[in-house]
Amino acid sequence: MNLYSPLRMHIPDGFLSVVLAAVFWVPSLIALSLALRHTGRQFSERLVPRMGVLAAAIFAAQMLNFSVIGGTSGHLLGASLATILLGPWAAVLVMACVVGVQALFFQDGGFLALGANLFNMAVVGVAVSYTVYRTVEKLSARRPWGILVGGFAAGWASIFMGSLAVGLQLALSGVSPANLVIPAMAGIHALIGVGEGLATGGALAFLAAVQSDLLRPTISSGGGADPGRVDRQPGWWIIGLVLALALAIASPLASSDPDGLQKVAEQQGFLERTAPPALRLFPDYLFPGMDDLALATILAGILGIGLVLGVVLLGAAFQRNGRITPDEHRARPPKHTG
């Protein structure tokens, strides 16, 4: 079963430089905490069931694949669908849950890289989707084709811009040259984005036919069952526009001048590769009083055996203790499966 998405937008650990990974945690955490506050106000006590189930639905919808050409298949990422149906704040929350659970429990994307992955999929994906969809909606003067075209354009743009962000992050981390990774990511995802866009448009067409009130922005429909959705959020529109413009301008610049990018990365401290090691206790990488690299390696080997032995002994020690764990407080979910 292909639950673990083949869409390589989730950066695993080991690729991003530590500084860059830390830097991207900041906007993601800010967006997440603001989203938590806004959606909490919007849905009040409905927040937990609504967001939890929708996050699970987006996760499950990512399994719905469709063959494209000759054995390749596409599937939804869902950021734009969530944005159009739930509004940007709720979409950030839902996508953050999806991306977070994928990283934490399914190893789809790394722990340290989670900040960057959240930024690419939950922040860039949602903001760009919102800007594109709202713009098309305005241009179409809310005619039915606006939903389809807007859904397609938002889906495509969210994937494409997200992939540009991934490419830039990898290039800034120095694991891949900008003139290779950015065009490669952009090229592949320009195609994948078509699938995302078409599937998003298809889903919106289905929803428009089955339950059209879901797509019509209402002020508040009776007790806040579905308030908001894509109601006016000028802040999000501007953020989406700025992010899209920044990515669209930075990417070709970076890929045409990879050395310049490297220089920027070094200046900003993203690349520790060329900087001297922070902890150089002993000169020439050797232990003091030891003039042979082989000896130092042997010493490290002995240390390693000691470490492993320690771990094994420690394990054996509390196997002997055989402590009885207090039953993990199983937060029993409601039995009702709905």
């Binding site: 390589r8 939890g52 499950a60 719905l64 469709f66 190893q107 891949s176 289905f206 089955v210 080997g301």
Partner: protein, 275 residues
């Protein structure tokens, strides 16, 4: 909760399983941070990290094949680092190419590439071990005590509860599509079929997929409403309450302390051996 094939937890009894979820979470994160901070080419340190991982895996009694299979997940991404072999300045150690197109592999490039690949492989294994040995409620409790907002933890908890229900629903939708398609079958696991293996043209397929995604979302919205009613009926008032996490035992503290000390030692070693 029934055991779903997607659930990464392996229910076994081992010292690693019995370790407190919070200390395991901190140790896994510390391990991955250590791997990330280890400079390229510090092979002894990578060896030590790998042996630590191996020791934990052996102690946890998880079949190595399971960890291997899951860790293959991060392999495709290594493609992104392949150009490193060719674009670093330094002495040539070999070349790859066809005829007149030859790409030279340099020694520093090779070191950097192997380091990135090793790092990501080691990190993914640590994360796999964490989720394979810790039941989900434990991890949630760990997140809560690590100051993740309780509301977010509650949403993730509910998401997990319904994830398997909705994944089953998605699988049923896929089965229904296969059953109605002109040519059988395109099960999600084996999508190597030809162009036409799942019915009509591309537009048809997209329309059907869009409909599936749409109906899945619609059904989940309705489901969330029913869940909310059920929660209300059971006294839910918008506040998420959870039991106090038990205190860390001495064993947990010793393991946590010695683990973190080890990581620090490895970082120092890394700065000695790294280029």
């Amino acid at each position: 909760m029934h055991l779903h094939p997607f659930d990464p937890y392996r229910p076994l009894d081992s010292p690693i399983h019995r370790l407190d979820a919070r200390s395991k979470l901190v140790l896994a994160f510390g391990f991955i941070l250590t791997a990330a901070l280890t400079p390229p080419g510090a092979w002894p340190v990578y060896g030590l990290l790998l042996s630590l991982l191996l020791a934990a895996a052996i102690l946890s009694r998880i079949e190595p094949a399971y960890v291997m299979r899951r860790s293959a997940l991060s392999l495709p991404f290594i493609l992104a680092a392949v150009p490193l072999m060719f674009n670093q300045p330094g002495p040539l150690v070999g070349s790859i190419g066809f005829g007149t197109f030859q790409f030279g592999i340099t020694a520093p490039g090779l070191i950097l590439f192997l380091s990135v690949a090793l790092k990501s492989w080691i990190s993914v294994q640590a994360a796999i071990l964490l989720t394979a040995t810790t039941p989900f409620p434990g991890l949630l409790g760990g997140l809560r005590s690590l100051q993740v907002p309780p509301l977010l933890v509650a949403i993730v908890g509910l998401m997990w509860r319904y994830l398997f229900v909705l994944v089953d629903e998605a699988v049923r939708l896929l089965q229904a599509r296969s059953a109605r398609s002109s040519r059988l079958p395109l099960s999600p696991g084996q999508q190597t079929g030809s162009r036409r293996s799942s019915g009509g043209g591309l537009t048809w397929r997209l329309k059907v997929t869009g409909g599936m995604a749409g109906s899945l979302l619609l059904r989940s919205m309705e489901r969330s409403e029913r869940i909310y009613q059920a929660m209300l009926a059971r006294g839910y008032d918008g506040e998420v309450r959870s039991l106090e996490s038990p205190h860390l035992t001495t064993v947990d503290r010793i393991t946590l302390g010695s683990g973190l000390a080890m990581f620090l030692l490895l970082l120092v070693l890394g700065s000695l051996f790294g280029g």
